[in-house]
Structure formats: C-alpha cells, structure tokens
Symmetry: D2
Subunit: 379 residues, 4 copies
C-alpha cells in the first residue's frame, strides 16, 4: 500500500468545478444493501449545498448507460427527502456491465462531470476502468466510488455501510431458529447468512445473539463428517442440551460441495448452497444413527438486504455521501471513500480491490465468538 496516495477525506479550500455548471450522475450497482438510499440522498444534499442543480440518477446500475429504453432520473433535494425511510435503491440496481468504452461514450454524450458509483469489488474494478478511459480521452470527469458490500469485506476499511444493519436484522432469523430448535424435540435450527468470502456477518451475528452453538465461516475450514466433524458435535449437543443452533456463512465449506463453475452477471462464481447441503447432511446423519432430529432451515438473505439502514449505518452513509462529493469537488478521480482506522479517507481504487478482506482466525473477535459458541475445532 502506498500511503502517500491516501488522503484524509473532507472539503478542500479550493474546488475544481464551477458548481452551477456541473452535471452529476449517481449509479448503484450489484445487489441490494441497506443504506443505498441514504448515500444517494446525502450525495444529492451535499451537491445541492455546493450549488449543483443538474443531478441525475442512472437507472439499474451500469445497464442504465447503454440500455436505450431506460431514462435518466432527475434528482433534487425534494425527490430524495424521505427515500432513506425505505430499503432498496431509488435508482434500481443490476449486476453486469457493458464495455468500458460504451459507458464512457455514454458519459460523454450525457456530459456528466462527476460520477458517483456505489458498488462492490467488481463495480470498483469497472469504475477504475472508466476512470482510466476518461483520463485517456482527456475528459475532465471525476469518478468517485462508495464501497457497497453488506459482507463488510473491503480491504483496509473498518466497516462498510449496511453491515451493522445486517447483523442487527440477522438477530431476528437467529432468534427464530433458536425458538424453533428449543421448542422442538431434538430441534436443530440452521441459519444461513450472507458472506461469500468472509464471515463477518456470521461471526458478529452469532456473537451478538448469544444463541449460536456452531458458527461456520469461509475463513475457517471444517469437516461435517468424522469424529471431530460438525455432525458429531451436533449429536453431542442434542444428547446434552436437547437442541442446537447453527449459523453458517454462505461462502463457508465450499470445498464440501460439488460446484459448477457457473458465474452470475457480475462475474461472481455461483456458490453451491451450503445451507441446504448441511441441512441434508444433518437429516441423513441422524437418520443413520437412529436418532430423531428436527431440522429447521432459515435463509433470511432477501429479508435482510431489503430493509432500511439502522441509525448507526445512517450516520456512516451520511458521512460517506458528504465526503464523496467533497472528493469530487477537490478534483479527485478514481478514488473510493471509506473509514480506515477510525478516519474517513480517499483511497485509490486499486488499493482496495486486490482481494476481499477476511476474518483473521487468530483474531480476538473470532476467539470471542468461539468462547461464546463453545464450539471445538471441526478438523
């Protein structure tokens, strides 16, 4: 990491655009994440304070740049006033992309001066390519990203927006699984939470609930079968406690699944469904040993993604949105805004997209989680 390329976020004395002449665009890419509307709202508010009048939303992610059937959405303080009270994205989202050239053609044709892009790793890579192409064409366009990943897996960043809300909302699913498990005879509750590459949501949700017996994350390998496997441990929990609750991140134990190599429109590998897999394995295992077990499987993903941001995320979104605009007016391009080591900073996009941030299995937080669940190694 090159520290001299990282700058403290915030307003600058000198601004590089004449606000009255600026056309600003906002686009939201990828899947839903609580807080999208908060960031959109705050970008519009802050542009308005600078004096920008021409603000538009590009509908449905990068698709909005090339799909001729889609029109720009005019944005103003009035339009966005209460959008933070609902989940989702006012602008719509979608996965996938066009060629960088096509997008930059569209940016030129629309005469956009500032482009605010909300999205994850893939979207950031696309944004970087757009930034590079704009530079090549000598266009004066500021490309500023705000990282959007509910998984909280962006390198260098303390926390990304939506994560806190997701952990909070996951409590509802975990408590339901706990109630189902404890009310059933030999009940086993199983909750699958988001987390393709990293287990932050599963770890934090398990720890905060205090109701999880087994937490499985992508960073920590485990066996289901065998004398030290998860199934054997569940057997013991059923014998001693009468019930058990398991929380698994969607990206955990992918080595245990037969996967196709299919990818989705964002280029992400389509994961095998570890939740369904474990559910079936538990059923088979207990049938095999002749012990009754009652498995209840809950996948709350879409119910978590679609809710509005909680108060803590609302503040994070507010500050990110304000600073995204400050960054563009300061003349930055090809940057992303984030909270690093308790400070808000601007980072060059390439710094944050080389790999996803992961849970450190030797960290205090993971050990606190293990203390809370009381689970052994499953190897």
């Amino acid at each position: 990491m090159c520290f001299d390329r990282i700058h403290r976020a915030g307003p600058r004395k000198k601004i590089y655009y004449e606000p009255g002449a600026v056309k600003a665009g906002i686009v939201t890419c990828g899947g839903l994440c609580p807080g999208l509307n908060d960031v959109i709202r705050q970008i519009v508010f802050t542009l308005d304070i600078y004096g920008v009048k021409n603000i538009v939303g590009i509908p449905f992610g990068y698709r909005g740049f090339f799909d001729k059937s889609l029109s720009e959405i005019p944005l103003s303080r009035q339009v966005v006033q209460n959008i933070n009270l609902a989940g989702g994205s006012l602008l719509g989202v979608s996965r996938g992309s066009a060629s960088t050239g096509e997008i930059v053609d569209s940016i030129q044709a629309r005469r956009i001066d500032m482009l605010f892009i909300l999205g994850g790793n893939g979207t950031h890579a696309g944004a970087h390519a757009i930034h590079e192409e704009c530079r090549k064409r000598k266009l004066k366009v500021s490309v500023v990203c705000v990282p959007k990943t509910i998984d909280n897996d962006i390198l260098l960043m303390d926390k990304t927006f939506g994560f806190d809300t997701a952990v909070e909302e996951a409590q509802r699913a975990i408590n339901s699984a706990y109630i189902e498990a404890h009310s059933a005879y030999h009940g086993i509750g199983l909750v699958k939470l988001m987390g393709r590459s990293s287990g932050f949501i599963a770890m934090h949700a398990s720890l905060s609930s205090g109701q999880i017996d087994v937490c499985l994350i992508p960073e920590v390998p485990f066996n289901l079968e065998g004398p030290y496997g998860v199934l054997k441990h569940l057997e013991q929990l059923i014998q001693t406690k009468g019930s058990a609750v398991v929380c698994v991140a969607e990206g955990a134990g992918q080595n245990l699944l037969e996967t196709s190599n299919a990818t989705d429109a964002s280029g992400n590998i389509v994961l095998g469904d570890i939740g369904v897999h474990i559910q079936q394995k538990i059923k088979t295992h207990f049938k095999g040993i002749g012990v009754h077990a009652d498995v209840k499987y809950i996948d709350p993903t879409y119910m978590i993604r679609a809710i509005r941001a909680n108060a803590s995320d609302a503040i994070l979104c507010t500050v990110l949105g304000q600073n995204a605009v400050h960054g563009a007016f300061a003349g930055f391009s090809g940057i992303t805004v984030g909270l690093c080591n308790t400070h808000y900073v601007y980072l060059p996009i390439p710094e944050v997209i080389t790999s996803p941030r992961c849970v450190n299995p030797n960290s205090r937080m993971w050990h606190r989680c293990l203390t809370s669940t009381g689970q052994p190694d499953f190897l």
Copy 2:
C-alpha cells in the same frame, strides 16, 4: 351442526371439581404458532385463581405421555409470568402420537383430572379419542382443547390465535419482496406464506400490504402456462410496470406438482413446494421468451411461526385460556373453545374437525383482494 350441543363459554355457578384436589395438565402439539405461551400462561393463571396448585406441562406434545426420558414440567404463576414475551412453546411441541390407550394409561398413572390440549385438526381428533377412551374407562377427566392453527382454518371459528400475528409479520416478507422487485431490473418478488388447505393468510397479507400483484390460494385453481396463465400475466406486468410481486399459499396449485404421497408425523400429506416450482417456471418462461427477469424468492415460514403474539392475538389467547379452564371446571369434556360469530363458545370436538375451513371464492373479502391486486382469472 347440532346447536344444542354448543354452549356459551364462561364461568359457571357450579364447579365440578374441588380445586385443591385437582391435577391439571397442559400439552401443546403440532407446529409452532404465535400465542402458544400466552394460552399456557393464561390457563395457569386461571387455574391459580380457582385455587388449583398442582399444574404440570407435558413436554413435546403427545410424545411427553409415553417417552420415559421426558419429565413433567411443574407450572405456576411465577414460572409462566413472562413466557408470553417470547415465541415458541415453553412446553415444547412435536408431531405424531402414541396409541390412545397408551396416552390414557399415562393420564391415569399421572392422576390428571383436567387435560388442556393445544393443537390443530389432527390433535383434536386425538383429543376426541382420548376423551372417548376416558369415558369408556369411566375416568373423571376433562379433556378441553384450544384450537391452534396459524392458517385460521378451523370450521365455524371466526379467527384462531396466531393468525393475526402471522398476517402482520408476513408484511415484512412482502415488503422485502416488493423492495427487491422494484429495485431490480425486471424484478419479480415471490413470497410463499403458510396455508395448507386455505388461503386466509395469503389473502389477508396481500390485501393489507397493498403491494401484491398476484395472490394464489388453494381454493382458487389457476394455470401457470397458457394465454391466461400466471406467467403470461407476469410478462405483461414486467412490460407495463417493470416489476411484479406474487404471494402464494403453500397449499396452492398442488395439482401442478408431482407429489409423492408421503405424510409427516402428524399424518399430513407432505406438500410439493409450490414456491420453488413457480420460481423455476418463471425463470424458464422468461428465458424462453428471451426477456431478462430477476426472481427473488422468500419463504418466511419459520420466522413467522416463531415470533410472539401481537396485542390482538394476546387478547384472543387470554380469553381462550380463561374459558378453557372455565369449561373444565364446568364439567365439560371433549370440547374445544373458540370464537364463533363474535361469541366465545364451547363446541363438541367432532363439529370442528370434519374438514378445514376455506376461503369462499365468492366472498367479499376475496373480491376485495382481487380488486387490490388487479389480477385476472388464471384459467
């Protein structure tokens, strides 16, 4: 229906038991339903007011009568004081049964005088058999049921406890589906709700949300394919509105599925999964016509079943619990307590279990639902 066998619920001047000598048992059977703990709590409170000191819970449904590893749970005002604040059942639930003879042997051995049974149709049939067997053996045992069906499908009854809560909680899933559908390009949200034989939850949840475009229930047949089918309608919605939200009851469209004839431990036929089926059909259909569509499927069943009762159900549970005890002290046996035509009454069990109560497709309520969704006939 024989009206002279139906009695207004409530306390009677004469009571048929010496409270101080009574041993009362409570058992909860079948799946979870919001309000179980409220009913248990209120039965205990009312028994306590009568002066009954010996109150026990039979754990895990009828299983608690014959599984030697399970012990009676002593109940008192103090034990149940705050159990209504959590979902589930303090006593545990399970499906399935033993032979009636075995259960009555157990009742005799335990010297139970009053047995309060919370459960659905199958449980009521079992309760009736227990009542008959007790009578045959000339045991002075009052068998009193409280109908528990989240589906609200008990004959003659205005409303069963848990239904109102389920409709309320379903809003969360529907709103998520709506947000997902409206934020996606050509988004289709699909929510499966409870309702094996009857579509009350789906109908009420659709109507109250005001966000549903298509509501499918078991009582109203429909085609997916064909010029008047659901898929064609979704195609039109995507063209005109850009998105659509579908609500389907789990028992809807079973004729469209290949089903095994498997049954669960309660003897209910294991339904094919209409939610997954429709999801796949939508995907195939839109792929077939070369139109992008983004389907998000939500099954909130376990998250709805496991929550605590809302205020309206809490009152219903309170009154049902009080009246169950009044009925037993009045010397009734083989009855069930319910709200019929705005009055609380005691009914002989056989009156209510001949068939499930269904949505009348000619009723005003279903027509209001159709007006709200704007959906056509799908035949």
Copy 3:
C-alpha cells in the same frame, strides 16, 4: 335508530355520476390517527378504477377550504402509491372549522362533486351541516365520511381504524413501564393512554400486555385517596410484589381534577392531565407514609398517533376507503361508512354522533380486564 336508513356498503349496479366528469376532494380533520394515509390511498385507487381523473386533496382539514395561502393537492395512483408506509396524513390535518357557508362556497367554487371527509365526532357534525347546506342550495354533491377516532368510540361501530394499531403500539410503552417498575426498588410505572371519553385503548392494552396491575378508565369512577383508593392498593402491591404498573386513560378521573373550561380548536374541552396528577399523588402519598417509591411516568401519545397502520387496520382502511367511493357513486350523501356488527354499512351521520361509544362496565371484556389486573373496586 332507524334501521331503514342503514344500508349495506358496497358497489351498486347503477352509478349516479359520470366518472370522467367527476371532481373528487378528500380532506382529513382533527388529530393524527394511524391509517389516514391508507384510507386516502384507497379512495384514490377506487376512484381511479371507476375512471375518475380529477382528484384533489384539501390541505390541513377544513382550514384548506378557506385559507387562501393553501393550494389543492393533486392526487393520483402514482402520488399515493406508497404513502401508507408512513404515518401521518399526506394532506395534513388541523382542528377547527370555518362557517359551513364558507366551506360550501368553496366547494362550489372548486366544482367538487364528491367530498370524502375523514374525522371524528366534531368533523362529522361539520360534514352533516355541509351536506344539509349543499341540499339546501340544490348542489349535487356527495358528502361521505369515514370515521377517524383512535379511541374507537364511535356509536354503533365495532371498530374504527387506528385503534388496533394504537393498542399494539401501546405495548411498547407498557412494557417499558413494567421494566422500569420491576428494575427499580419499589418501582411504580404509570402509563397514560389515549381515551377522552372511553377507555377502550387502556382496557385492551392492559389486557393484551398482561403486565398491568391497575387500569383506570373514564367509564368507571374511582378514588385515589381513602382506604379503598388506588393509592392504598399501590401501597399493598409495593409491600407484596415490590412493584406495580398503572395504566390510565386520559379521560379517566376528570372529577378529581380542577379543570378550566377551556376548549381546543375542535371545541373539545381541554382535559386536566390525570397522568401528571396521579404521578404527583403517588409521590405525595408514599412520602407521607415514609415509604420509598420510585415513580416513572410515560406518555406515549404522540409516538402512538404518528405511526403507520398495522396489517389489521390496513385491511379495515382498505375496505372503508373502497366503500366510501362506492357510496358516493351510489348517490348517497350525508353518510358515514363503518363496520357494524361485522358488516360494512352506510349510516346517516346523525345516527353516530349523538354521543361517544363507551366501555360497558358490566361487559365481559371489562371483567376480563379486571381478572387480568386483579384490581378491586376503588370506591
């Protein structure tokens, strides 16, 4: 009551207006009540289905008719699509009125054919006067009311919208009072709920919470002082249970207060604050007997009024809104729509406004509440 003037609500074969030529107005009067936006939304939807294009909202109650600074709010399906997701009233509310003549002048000037008025008793009286004046002037104007009273105190009506939501939301305040009382040494929680003339909210909220020791409503007189007074009872509760929770309707015990005869803009007498009064009496009493007591007083009124309708009220609002429009098209005027004895009907306004509906102190529901609280007579 004259039964031949009461009609079943619903669409009629013959309609008395040419939809394309109709101008419809909607106005919301009085204080906030959960569901106002649901009713507005459904009136607009139903008018739209009939084919009415010219729909306007009159801002801020009757004030909107005469305050020249206020403009009509154009309404359409799109404008009202999601207004039910927020509390309050899109149109604004206010108390007070102009002269009937002035309002009817304004109706004429605006060429309004159908006027939908949402409000309470006072508003209904005003609506009746408007209807009479229109008839006198031979104007073909349909004046149709939808009763809005969170207190649920409209004569003849089973339930008015917002009531169910209020009871649900009151749980939050009651539970807080319970937690405060139980966590404090000699803690007494005191919650004041809405209910000017009738104690329905207090009674239902107490019953559903199961956490109230004393429930005080306007219909049942009580003493605070004296050997059988509320204070003596609290003393005993503190001695025996260590804590107590009281729920009082705002209109209860008005005879105990010195009141001015002031009225608010709606002409309602300004009530003395019974909550504050009881709080002070409790403090004085316990100080007087040298016993420590820790009183926590909660008045959640504005937090209850301002929330959105729950699912049950949303259905009620939907059906009321639909039927209000059906009534206007059927040519009725001077009517109000309501749920009477489980049926939706049109009633002449005078039938419902002679007095508020009250809790019957001899009813089963009040007795269930007394059983639940365990409170004695306080006389």
Copy 4:
C-alpha cells in the same frame, strides 16, 4: 493520564484466584441502560468457564449491601441464559449509597472475593472508595467496574454500552415528531433526549435521522430569544418550510432555566426541564407574533432506557463482561474496563471520573450535524 497504569484487557496466563473457592458478586447501580442484562449474563458465563460456582447478585444497587430486607440473588448459567432478551436489570437498580465502611463490612460478611460493579461516574467514585477501603483492611477483593452511561460521556472511552441502542431507539421518537410536525399546519415537533452533560445522543440521533432542523446540546450555548435565537429561526422555518423539528439534550440550555439546587439520590443536580421550557417559549413566542403554531413535545426517555440492547451493543457488552472477569482473575482491583481508541483496556478508576466526556464543538462530527440540520449559531 499515566499510561503505564493502563493495561490491555484480556485473559492472563496466571490467575490470582482458585476458581472453585471464589465467591463473586455483581451489582448494578444508577438508572437503567440497555445492555445491563447482557453484561450480567456474560460475567456469569465467563465466571462459569473459569470454574466459579458461587455467583450472586446484589439487589438494587449499593442498597442491596445494607438493606436487611433484601437477599442475594443466586446466579448461574441457567438463570441468566435468556435475560438479555429483556431490558432492565435482573438485579434491579437504585441510586444512592451507604457509607463505604458499611458496604465493605457487608462484603466481608458475605465473603465476596470479586465484586463487579456496573454504574456511572458516581458509582465509579463509590467503587474506588470501596477498593481503597478493602486495601486498607488488607482484604483480597477485586473490585472491577464496567462503565454504564447511556449518555456515552465517560472520559477516554470510544463508546459505552447502551449508547448505540439509545440512538437507534431515539429514531422512533424523532420520526414521530417529524410526522406530527409535517402533518400539522405550522407544526413544530420537539424531542428531548438523554444527555445531562454531553450531547452525544442528541447529536448522533439528529444526524442519523436526517429529520432534525435544530439540535441543541449542553456543550454549545444558545439563545432562545433575540434576533439570532432559536425562536426566530423557527419562525423562519415555519415561513419557508411550514414545519420544523427540534431535538434537545436534557442538559442543554440549563443557564436559561431557574433551577433549584436540589440533587437526586445519586447526588446529581436535578436539572430544570429544558424540553418543557422550550415548548412553552415556542407557544408564547408564536402567540406573541400572532402566528399559529402547533407544538408537539415528546419525551421518550423511559421508553429508550428500558429496551434491550441492539446487536452492536450486545457485542460490546459481551466483550466488556468477559474482560471484567479476566481482569479480576488477573488480580486487578480498582479498575474499570472500556474501549479506548479501538482497544479494550483496563483503566484505574480515577482516570475516567474527573469529568464527563463532552462533544467537541469544533469536531467534524458536530460540524456534520450542523450541515445536516442547516442550523445557524444561536448567539
């Protein structure tokens, strides 16, 4: 601050107590705060993991040490399993104290080896005196505090438990005030939030809501009257926007009030009620200028204090509870546990109690709040 007296929190290799022989006591002092039960629960769990069997709760704060009518509450893993699901404190709280000598006599008599004290500044001062007295008497007693202040005003600490939950729950009151204000003609919503000496809750709640026009905190002086006062600003807001929402911390503007010098049982000065004061001033002001204004005042204090901790606070409480026990076993006494500059540490009590932590009026966060509200200086 003396840095060599600050230690990283966590388990140590060497422990200074034989777990089987330890008697541990827990006491909660002061007012309620979300998370008290989470900390109690985690202390018990962690003691249990160490092997401590003899764990008791001291009821109702320091009062439990000397009030002979109160008994110790035996604590175990089973007792505390689900206490985090409810707000309040299982042990009860109270303000005030006995003499230090009396408390230490009681500690000796009970043979307590470890005392975990949850409370605020005053409680910490008491804990320090207890620690000193134990040292003087050469008692081997570990006195370990966990700071409990919903106001988040403990020196050196990033965040105290309950604060995040309070900010979240405050949204409910603010949104109600916003809805009331926006639905009324010339509506002004006024919300008073906790914050005796510092405005963290008011600042964060205002910022996250995005609905506040004026935020008033103790650290920033303001005038109500005069050409630059709050009232004049409200006048302008009513003229331009038609409504306004004000958020005031309870400790703000105390110089504007006539106060008695009364103190509560904790020795805190009884504050004048700034919320009621501002409400009256607004009424008088608008009456004076002949402009209608409709003020709605909400004080949600007890409804915020009494709720359970949210997920984020639950994790904070978990880690604090675990580390409190680690600290005691490591042989520390007279310390408090907290999150300082992102790390969990043990601090000597005197370091944190010299004064409350305050909002820095020159900080970025306060400036973000001002940007969000758009309010001027009120001087």
